[in-house]
């Protein structure tokens, strides 16, 4: 079992509340949900990363991993990814695209922008839970995040 003090902070960018709930449920099932920040669009996610707007007073440090949906209101996922990977402060954050889309062009675009992993959300809930679990375990626990990441 994963020990709590090693858990990294997860930043989730997801506009669909049902997806948020299902993802959190999946993470909870494996005790990975205690440090998940949920942002609902690309702008909010960037505000969080840059500690501005409503996140002006948040505790500093980058998340250990970022779960990024592609289809987002305001600033879409690919644009968020592009901004992160072209920012010296942020480019080391591991970004996992977590999306419904199996479209090849999204995949190609994401990898070109330097995404760290690309996961298509399975329709089957079992598979979905497994995927979230493995993602959470790998990126929040097993993977050694870059210096400056928040760990609990």
């Amino acid at each position: 079992m994963v020990t709590m003090n090693k858990l990294g902070r997860i930043l989730m960018v997801e506009d669909d509340p049902k997806d948020v709930e299902l993802t959190l449920t999946a993470l909870e099932e494996y005790n990975l949900a205690n440090e998940v920040i949920v942002t609902r669009d690309g702008e909010q996610a960037l505000d969080y990363l840059h500690c501005r707007g409503e996140y002006k007073t948040r505790s500093s440090g980058n998340p250990a991993v970022m779960l990024l949906d592609l289809k987002l209101p305001k600033v879409d996922g690919l644009e968020v990814l592009k901004q992160i990977k072209s920012d010296d402060e942020l480019r080391m954050i591991p970004v996992v695209v977590l999306t419904s889309s199996k479209e090849e062009k999204d995949m190609v675009a994401s990898y070109k922008l330097g995404v760290n992993a690309y996961v298509v959300k399975p329709v089957d809930f079992h598979e979905f839970v497994n995927a979230i679990k493995e993602l959470g375990v790998f990126w929040a626990v097993i993977n050694e995040p870059p210096p400056g990441s928040v760990r609990k």
Binding site: D16, K18, D19, L22, T25, L70, K71, T99, S100, S101, K102, E103, E104, K121, P122, V123, D124, F125, H126, F128
Partner: protein, 501 residues
Amino acid sequence: MARPNLELQIARSPVLRYGFAVLSVSVALGASLLLERFQFRNVADPLFLFAIAIAVWYAGTGPAILAVVLSGLADTYFFIEPIYSLYITRDDLPHFAIFILFASLLTGFAAVRRRVERDLVQARDDLQIEVAERTQQASLLNLTHDPIFVRDMSDVITYWNRGAQELFGWTDKEAMGRHSQELLQTIFPTPLEDIHGELLRTNRWEGELKKTKADGTQVVVASRWSLRRDEQERPVAILETNNDITERKRREEEIQGLNQELAKRSADLESINKELEAFAYSISHDLRAPLRHMAGYTELLQKKASSVVDEKSNRYMAMILESAKRMGDLIDDLLAFSRIGRAETQKTLVSLAQLAREALTEVRQDTEGRDIAWKIGALPDFYGDRSMLRVVLVNLIANAVKFTRPRLRAEIEIGCAEGSRDELIVFVRDNGVGFDMKYVHKLFGVFQRLHQSDEFEGTGIGLATVQRIIHRHGGKVWAEGLVDSGATFYFSAPKPQGHLW
């Protein structure tokens, strides 16, 4: 060309010409002496003048002078007192002088007349030659089918060849003498002054003109004008050659129209394709999300409530999950199918034998625990998109595996059939449940299934995908089958160009 006559025959030889002069004077002398014998008086002078006239006429000026001298001597010697001497008395001197003067005048006039006549003959001959040349040139212009006419600087038609008659419908007699503009009602692409300006500057002009024929219809002609100038460089005539390009123009316009139509259709197709792409993206993303939520919440419900609800309710939840999964599969297959239509094909020479081995590996999961006799014949190389052809073989082989499931011992054969010279035919044959040939037309349609889904699973897109891929390779797909006796699926494609090397 000159008339053949005595004068020119004599003129050829000086000896003959002078001899002729001597002869005519001698004849005149003889005749005079003879007539004197018969008491005819004063006949010598006219006879000598006559001889001189004959000599000047037929033998030329030189012999005529000789004739004058000889006549003078003969006259003096035989007919002027004292006879038989060359002495002339004072009384006879005027007579003799008048004779000589008259003879000389005669000679002179005749010489001038001859010269004039010779010039006239020469001029006539020259003219005849020129006329012949012109006639030949004109008849040459008549030989060509190109419509040619000539008009002078006041636009009056002066020449009209047969080609012009054939094109415009007026004979040369009808056209010549008329104003060409009035006759042909030419429509010019640019102001006539510009055309004439260019013609005067460069001596030529070319362009497309519209003219009206005798029957009132319009023709489009490629017109070439050449300006003719006289020796003083003054423009005198315009030669106009007109080639009928009405049909060519019509075809050009037709082609242009077709091209425009084609461009428009391409643009339409492009936008439809874009829409389809957007549609596919939306299916991929937006339709899958609610499906995932349905499955997710149902599973959460199942987890929470399975112990408190009855068996029926549990079955309902299981059915919801199964349907959600099936819809997920349908969406995935449909997207894969639409992607084949949109994707670019990257064609290379592909070894079907290698692809078949890969396909067998891919279906291994479904063949575990089954008794299948594989018979794989020699497979040719195929010119096509490797990943697409792989999909074809995987689909056909997976189908064969699926539909032989009720057989204790399945037989599946993959081979190459005899095709025409430039065509390859590959087949996959099985001894499975087969199908009724009555429904063969439904086999390759999207979502078409010939078996109930609890009998054989599947979305009904596999064969439609196969057909789409083969069509994109310029080939055909077809099938033969018999209920309970197996099925054979064929696909064909043009042989690779390098196959014969």
